[in-house]
Structure formats: C-alpha cells, structure tokens
C-alpha cells in the first residue's frame, strides 16, 4: 500500500474500519469552522493542540529532527490551505496525522532515492515476531536506568523496526489513537493494523528484552 498523497478528503466511506460517529460534535469542529471563515487565531489554537503529536509522529517515522520540524510546518500549512476539504467526517487530529504520515513517508523516499518507502516495506519480515526470550524484567527498567539511558535505549530500539511497524506502533501505542483511527490515518484495514501492531509489539519486546534482561542479570 502506498501512502495517500493525492487526496486529503476525509470521507469515511473510502476508509476501511471507519465507523460513522453518533457522538456529540468534537470541540475541534468549532475551531475548524472559525478557521475556515478566516479566523487565524482559531487555527493557531489547533496548532497549539496538535503540534506535539504531529512533531513526534514525524520524528518517529523519519528518525530525523530537522525533517520532523520541516514536516510539522508543512503539515499545518497544508492543512490550512486545504481546510475546505475537511468535512468533519473524521477527527481533525486524525486528518492531521494522516497528512503527517504521508509527508513523512515522502521525506523518507527522498532520503533513500534508490528505494521505495511505503507502509508495506519490510512488513513481511517475521524477525522478532516469534517470542524467544522468556526472561522476566525485574526490577523494572525505570529502576535500573536513568531517564537519559532509558531514552537512548527506547529510541535505538524503535529505530530498528521497519517503517510500517514503527508507524503503527507510534500511532496506536504512543500517540494513543484507537485501532480504527490508526487504520484511517494510514489507509489500512483494521485487521492489517492489528496484525502489524502485534508484530511491532512483539519485535520491540524482544529487542528491549536484550537490554532489560542483561540488566536483570547484573551485566548492564
């Protein structure tokens, strides 16, 4: 599956797993309507609310801070220009994340000119998807490592995942999108998200276990 680059429309009929919402209107919709009417302060409020999420999503996918900064700017500017295409059928934040994923994958493609980068890249690998390490993590990693050391381990570990797995894990488990929202943002089916999420979680667990198991054995 290639990233969506042609349309920013948010028609749920085109998106597998997206359910029609019967809940009260999301508060973002009022800000979006004001922004559409020319109120840039309302749009700035939306930037304040979601810049962190968009930056982190871009950084997780690209693994490059400069790219993530550029992408964050481009995502919000593109959203501002295309606001009329947002019809409120999905959450505004999911719409932004979808733009961010597309921009991030495009950036990866530019960086690796000889390779195609998509959500499908390397997702066929079974490496690390079958549990092999059955050691408990005791004591907790937070008790063994400083925050800085732990951050290094987490960054290094997630960077080793294929982009397709890294992106699903980032949206679902770090940014806390629902499975359906993750599917919508990535243009994947719900079963495809679940399958990738399982493998991403198991691969990360296996990789982290190498560090935390070592620490457990006193050989940190």
């Amino acid at each position: 599956m290639a990233a969506h680059t042609s349309s920013l429309a948010d028609n749920p009929a085109e998106l597998p797993g997206a359910a029609a919402s019967v809940e009260a209107p999301h508060p973002d919709l009022a800000l979006v309507e004001r922004a559409k009417a020319g109120d840039t302060a309302a749009f700035e409020q939306l930037v304040r609310q979601y810049d962190r999420q968009i930056y982190r999503t871009a950084l997780h996918i690209t693994q490059n801070r400069e790219d993530a900064e550029d992408i964050t700017q481009d995502v919000f500017f593109k959203a501002f220009q295309k606001l009329d295409q947002f019809q409120g059928n999905s959450k505004f934040s999911t719409w932004l994340v979808r733009i961010a994923v597309n921009e991030s994958l495009m950036r990866l493609r530019k960086r690796k000119t000889s390779k195609t980068v998509s959500m499908d890249q390397d997702v066929q690998t079974e490496e690390g998807s079958i549990p092999r390490d059955f050691a408990e993590w005791r004591p907790n990693p937070e008790q063994i490592y400083s925050q800085g050391e732990l951050g290094d381990i987490l960054r290094k570990t997630i960077a080793g995942l294929p982009p397709g797995f890294r992106t699903v894990f980032t949206l679902r488990d770090i940014e806390n999108l629902s499975t359906e929202e993750t599917a919508e943002a990535l243009g994947l089916s719900v079963p495809a998200v679940k399958s990738r999420l399982l493998r991403a979680r198991l691969q990360l667990r296996e990789r982290l276990s190498r560090y935390f198991r070592k620490a457990n054995e006193g050989s940190k």
Partner: protein, 101 residues
C-alpha cells in the same frame, strides 16, 4: 488453546476486545503457561514504557518557534489570497464599467 492460538489473540486481549468465552480460554492458558505469562507482562511493559517515557522531547521553545513559522506562512498565504481576490474584483469592476460605457 496453545501458545500460537494465544499469540493470535494477544492484540485483542490487550485492547479489551475479546469475547467473554475466548477471554476465559486466554486466562486459563495464562494460568498454565509461564512463557506466555512473561510475554504478556513484558509486552504490556513495552507499551507502558514507550507511552510514558516519551523518548522524544518537545520543548516549549521548539513549539513556539514552529508555531511562529507556521502562522507566518498561513498569514502570508491568507494575505496573498485576499490581495488576489481584491485585484480580481477590481478588474471585474473595470471591465463592467468599460462595457457599460
């Protein structure tokens, strides 16, 4: 339920989207299989540690800098669009004046 069946249900189990009958089978398997119990505990810890540690910082000064740059681009784009619309309206008005005289 064997370990392979259990792994296939792991995502639904974590997400609380599992039928009660199947949940009972999952719990029964977990009660008898230490390896799967470890996999569940350490996978849950994997999720928790990433969600709570937030390995990438987003300091206020970066947020402020990005927001300023974004809003400068948006405002420039809006002003450009308004100027274009104004020019278009003036041209239309001139054309109407010429055709009526």
């Amino acid at each position: 339920m064997n370990c392979t069946d259990f792994l296939a249900k792991l995502t639904d189990y974590f997400d609380g989207q599992i039928d009660p009958d199947l949940l009972a089978e999952v719990k029964e398997h977990l009660g008898t299989c230490h390896h799967c119990e470890v996999v569940v505990n350490t996978t849950r810890k994997t999720i928790d540690i990433y969600r709570h540690s937030q390995p990438y910082e987003f300091p206020d000064d970066l947020s402020n800098r990005l927001r300023s740059a974004i809003m400068a681009r948006c405002n420039a784009s809006k002003e450009g669009a308004e100027a274009k619309a104004k020019l278009h309206a003036e041209l239309m008005r001139d054309a109407q004046t010429r055709s009526s005289s």
